[in-house]
Subunit: 333 residues, 2 copies
């Protein structure tokens, strides 16, 4: 077994978030389902972008947010994701490296531009995402650096990787290398719409042992098992996956293994500003703790500490150094 | 006199704001003066950018913020500013046009990139700006469209235009055209460091009638007259300029003409999140009101209404439609 270098390798769609504030009737006129993520093509991306007013750009992508948070926490992390050689792609790489993430996936040359998600924020704070996958569709098995995978305690991947076809093969190749090196593989279900698209494939991977650690929130877990009852879903996932980290919003989080279940409360937050990224940052804390052999309870607690930081401000990446927040919470990373 | 089309033409440095959160010791290590704006060259821009972690990008520029706010208020507005033909420049143009601003200044081709200001936010919320002027240095007299100037009730310009040499000539040409068309010319002092750089030129333009309406905050006005006493500065500016709009932070604002002084209180704000853009949005409200022949008191009041919106969130451009806020405040624009 290679000596471990990274707590977590994160693989995901490298996406720039483009935010705009819109009124409720904008969603109605565009026939958009509030709170959903839909995939759009170039033509629709151009059309919708022209209708958005003032925008704000922040590097995003679920697994990208997790990688940035692992680094902020003081953990060692790497990222695989495909950007183009354009300003957005350069900014994405800057933001990753600037926070200390090992990010060497070659940029796409002479192809489509860097992916962007146009996120419409309604006055109630809800977010509706319209994602143009751009360069993400070119992430392939060739971008899976076996040495990095073998050097990572966890290879963590987002369910959204199932959307661009070649990325799914990259995911499966990485999982195989990870297991060959005695490492663990983790999947986040991403969102309940993503679960609806790929339910049977996700369940198969959980059941055949491709996934060692599953991340989900309550909505996603219920969507996975097509049940309104979370306890039914918890009982099912306990059978299907060795370990599940379940986030419960204001109710905190649970860790569910075949042997036991632990539950931790949410961290107190002065004011919840924006829930985006809460799951991504929870995953960062949980993964680092697991990589450092903390028990389930402490792992969930560190996850909740990280999640609490990101919901206190707009944007899905930490503003304060998570390492310091962890230290204040009694963790030394 | 041409029939009026625009309430305000805004001319300024077209700058993309790149925000990052840093610790206090970052400023110390970089020998930066907290709260200041300094100009940096390409080499320093590259060097500093590499040290910034996670970034957020929002179109900015003081007069650009004012133009976006005039449009949000339901006013008619145009903007002159130089961006490059790159992603940041395209985003800048998108954001302007998306909010309804007439923005036709040709992009710079095969030159330096779009300007960017690297804004370091310390934990106390203070902002330290490092501005690379990029394409702004190419804004010239050729970019002054006389028809647009002649069609604008106010030509509003930022003191920062004195930094790129050719822009100063563009400013003076626009002022001449405006006065030739029977229109008014307005200047904002931008910041106290800018006043220190160009004090005598600003005073000359106020005294020779180039400036009809001056915008300043207390720091800038005291810097202009090199006095610690704001009343001394107010007495001096009353002599030097036909009309001055003075913002006083939590104390509201004043309008000072040779004949009279009016004072209005600040609007109540639930929570002050970020003061950036308060002056820019105050100017938007005041200009639109003056263009519509509202009295000084109502003009200052509309300015304060607009400023209150922008300090309730991060970023210097309005998130809510100012037109609606104005309507709630009894104004119909």
């Amino acid at each position: 077994m290679t000596s471990q270098t990274f707590d977590a390798l994160c693989i995901g769609n490298a996406i720039c978030d483009v935010f705009a504030h819109v009124e409720e009737d904008f969603l109605a006129r565009e026939s958009l389902v509030k709170g959903s993520m839909r995939l759009i093509d170039t033509e629709e991306a151009v059309r919708l972008y022209e209708k958005m007013g003032q925008t704000t750009r922040i590097s995003g992508g679920s697994a990208g947010n997790t990688a940035a948070a692992v680094a902020s926490l003081g953990g060692k992390t790497a990222y695989f994701g495909k950007v183009a050689k354009d300003d957005l792609g350069d900014a994405y790489r800057h933001d990753m490296r600037g926070t200390g993430v090992h990010f060497e996936t070659p940029a796409l040359i002479d192809g489509v531009p860097t992916a962007r998600s146009m996120i419409l924020i309604t006055p109630d704070g809800e977010r509706t995402m319209n994602t143009y996958l751009g360069a993400c569709i070119e992430l392939s098995e060739n971008d899976v650096d076996p040495q990095v995978v073998a050097a990572s305690a966890f290879t963590y991947m987002e369910g959204y990787l199932w959307d661009p076809p070649a990325a799914k093969r990259a995911f499966l190749k990485a999982a195989e290398i990870a297991h060959g090196a005695g490492r663990k593989v983790s999947l986040t279900l991403s969102d309940s719409f993503c679960v609806d698209r790929y339910r049977s494939e996700f369940l198969t991977m959980m059941r055949d042992g491709t996934i060692d650690l599953l991340f989900a929130n309550e909505h996603e877990l219920r969507a996975l098992y097509e049940t309104a009852d979370v306890d039914t879903a918890i009982a099912a996932v306990r059978e299907d996956c060795a370990l599940t980290a379940l986030t419960l919003g204001a109710e905190g989080a649970m860790a569910i293994s075949r042997e036991k279940t632990v539950r931790v409360p949410a961290q107190k937050v002065d004011e919840i500003v924006d829930l985006t990224g809460a799951g991504d940052l929870f995953a960062a804390g949980f993964l680092v703790a697991q990589s450092r052999d903390y028990d389930l309870s402490m792992s969930a607690e560190l996850g909740c500490l990280c999640a609490a930081e990101v919901i206190g401000h707009v944007g899905a990446r930490p503003e304060r150094a998570l390492r310091q927040i962890a230290a204040e919470g009694g963790f030394s990373i």
